[in-house]
Amino acid sequence: MQTVKMVITGPFSSGKTEFIKSISEIEVVSTESPIAKDSPEAMEKANTTVAMDFGRITVDDDLVLYLFGTPGQRRFDFMWEILAEGMLGFVVMVDSSKPETFREARSILETFRAYAPTPYVVAANKQDHEDAWKPEDLRIALRIEDENVKLLSCVAKNKESVKEVLLELLYSILEEMDAPK
């Protein structure tokens, strides 16, 4: 049986776990740890991923896609390279309503591009939030000057939206396969 993997990365609280939960056929294997109640992070969410999230999509008896979500907090970034090894491509999740995370998103994007020159897309998550920045504004804020890099509107809790992002990543992978070497 062949297994392939994609990595879902992005800053703290950008929606990576939610993204995988929306599409995975199994209960997501999550290494979430409760955030200390007196910590300011606890106001954002109750748990945070400390090692990885793991989801699965079985195509048929011979092919399985694994989705790995990276931990968002920088102190767990030693996991990133391990998770990136052999990936088909990656999705960078960005919380469109939190400009305070954009710089980190840009840094993570650059780091993953350095791990492997695989195709990637950027998902402008939480587009249903009233304070969400539009994808075209995010493109400038994240300094994604290459028009070939897809920056997609996303709502990670919506399965159709997640499917759309993964499909666009797969189309990018196909395009790269077809591109003259």
Partner: protein
């Protein structure tokens, strides 16, 4: 969908760059910041800054098609007579008299009167308003934590005189006053990136006023020389080269690219460049994945 944020995490320079590059029209409002007592968590999940809630409006900047056309700020008298006085076109007595006698006139009406009475020329008015608007932007560039909101497609009031100002020069000039090394290091983390010109550089550089140091840097941009190498060639410190590159980047005049030989970011463990996984993957696999996800 308004563009909201805080100057602590998205600076005035970055905002101007965004408005300039996307040719936005609308009004940017900066508010007085009140600390809420809560903390805002940055994207690394570790760094925290004070959360600041918007108070009263302190500045408004209007834009049309990415150009600054009008600016006002609390504490900076925006009456046309005062603007002309600060620019040296009217003396104190003239300005006071005009303010008293023409109190009922709006800026456009007053400008016509002053031109007809040969107090000033149209050019004097345009240049004085330009100077006033740019000085407001420079002040804003030193602000560190105020909340902001950009509302698209809000037109400035009819009574104001609109003077279009190309933001590229304002950004370049404004970055010369940035003194915060930390901010520059965060913005340009890796000096081993190269710089290249965007498409249509001729168009982008038209009417741009670069200083000697900026031109020296521009002369070394070829898509291969790293920022570190350019800094060395120009005999600049890391902070100096970062400041200039930051200005050029924000003005949309250059782009950062990863050169083939660039060191990889010092993040995580020892990084080894991997072969792209998909060279080993058959096209058929991707097509099967596409079909599966479509039908999920």
């Amino acid at each position: 969908m308004a563009l909201k944020g805080n100057l602590a995490v998205f600076t005035t320079t970055q905002l101007l760059n965004l408005i300039n590059l996307s040719k936005k029209s609308g009004v940017l409002t900066i508010y007085e910041g009140h600390k809420t007592g809560k903390k805002l968590i940055m994207g690394d999940g570790l760094t925290q800054i004070d959360e600041v809630a918007p108070g009263k409006e302190v500045a408004n900047l209007n834009f049309q098609q990415g150009m600054l056309v009008f600016a006002q700020m609390n504490g900076k008298d925006g009456h046309l007579a005062s603007i002309l006085q600060r620019a040296g076109k009217l003396n104190e007595d003239q300005a006071r008299t005009i303010r008293e006698k023409a109190a009922a006139l709006n800026d456009k009406g007053l400008a016509l009167r002053l031109i007809n009475a040969n107090y000033v020329t149209k050019n004097d008015i345009v240049r004085s308003i330009q100077k006033h608007a740019v000085s407001i932007v420079f002040d804003l560039m030193t602000w560190k934590q105020e909340p902001f909101e950009f509302k698209e497609n809000v037109a400035p009031p009819d009574s104001h005189i609109l003077v279009p100002i190309d933001l590229k020069n304002v950004i370049i000039e404004g970055t010369r006053i940035i003194t915060e090394q930390k901010h520059l290091e965060e913005e340009i983390e890796n000096l081993d990136f190269a710089l290249k010109f965007p498409e249509n550089p001729g168009e982008k550089f038209k009417n741009v006023q670069l200083g000697t140091n900026e031109w020296r840097v521009v002369g070394f941009i070829n898509g291969k020389n790293t920022i570190r190498q350019i800094g060395k060639a120009c005999n600049m410190t890391d902070t100096e080269i970062r400041r200039i590159v930051y200005g050029l980047l924000q003005a949309g005049l250059v782009q950062m690219i990863r050169p083939q030989s660039a060191e990889q970011p010092k993040r995580g463990t020892d990084l080894k460049r991997q072969q792209p996984a998909n060279t080993r993957i058959e096209r058929d696999v991707i097509q099967r994945l596409i079909v599966k996800i479509k039908n999920t």
